[in-house]
Symmetry: C2
Subunit: 219 residues, 2 copies
Amino acid sequence: MGGKPSNIDLYYLAMRHTSAAKENRKGFLESNERLEYLGDAVLGLVVAEYLFNKYPFKDEGFLTEVRSRIVNRENLNQLSKKIGLEEIIQFNGHMKGSKQSFKSIYGDALEALVGAVYLDKGHKFAKNFILKKLIIPHVDIDMIISTDTNFKSKVIEWSQKENKVLNFEVTELDSKKHFKKFEAKLFVGKKQISVGHGLSKKKAEQDAAEKSCQILNIE
Amino acid sequence: MGGKPSNIDLYYLAMRHTSAAKENRKGFLESNERLEYLGDAVLGLVVAEYLFNKYPFKDEGFLTEVRSRIVNRENLNQLSKKIGLEEIIQFNGHMKGSKQSFKSIYGDALEALVGAVYLDKGHKFAKNFILKKLIIPHVDIDMIISTDTNFKSKVIEWSQKENKVLNFEVTELDSKKHFKKFEAKLFVGKKQISVGHGLSKKKAEQDAAEKSCQILNIE
């Protein structure tokens, strides 16, 4: 590790959010989005292989689930801040608030950085960088595994594979009468599959989704 | 290219569909699913990088879209048959028809083969294999690009990012009166966004999704 960058411009580009895109000589607006696209794939492979080797007797459902939790937006945003990217990302704050892309500005810059390292130094170096500088020191995989499964994303994934229309209907219950403040009904097509409850909208949906996973036999 | 396999067992395993899983010495049921998980990530990166280099002035939306079309289930199934995997995949036909996993048996085996090549021969070799034996000779990227955008998947992706409930309502119109046999209404939450028409359910949904992409300003 610790090699010097061969192409420093790539790293500058990786820290340039789309809101601060600059026109290059050919009139093409440049930001870190293309590097982010590449870095996302690099990160995906490196984490996939790491888990594949770490858990030789776990099935691919487990590996896929753990991987998606490691590289999800929130995790990458946190990781990005931990390694200090927050302080060097260039963006145009005037556009903040309006744009979807600001929700993942830190994680996207981290992916772009990974893309830059990959282009600059190759697969092996990028793999070492990701594992030794990012994942192993900063990601608590045991904790991630012990956290509850995200049943909502499971049931959504299933509905898309099966081409079914999935729908949640959430209502707020009368809070004086109920501890469980929200009720979520999960429909597949027009058929109600399950009802869940929880103290937040999100938890009620999770509860309904978990029940549906059992009822519909979704692994 | 053309190197001999160092670990031939990996390749046998890659051709073993889950319906023909075998118990190994440690009592763990083995099929190609773990290799498929790994191969999917390898393929994802190699295709991502290939497009990144091939289209230096295209934005990441274009690259992501083209990549997802290249590695979609149907394409991988076809590619797998083209290179002859159909004849060597081992599966248990008695389970066919009932299982979701049979829909992608050929494409999954192709991904597993890529995973096996990657484990056996490393990243560089696997990259050459994917590009020179699979993508360049067998995938018509220009054709893939010129085909219409999949607006339905775009709008679904958007709804998940934004945490909105998306719903299609499709009705068959009276075919004596209408050329456009199906009508699809797209709802976000309870609000109807657009109406589409087409000669099939699928086309009507695509039409509604395309209109919604415009109305909702989805790129």
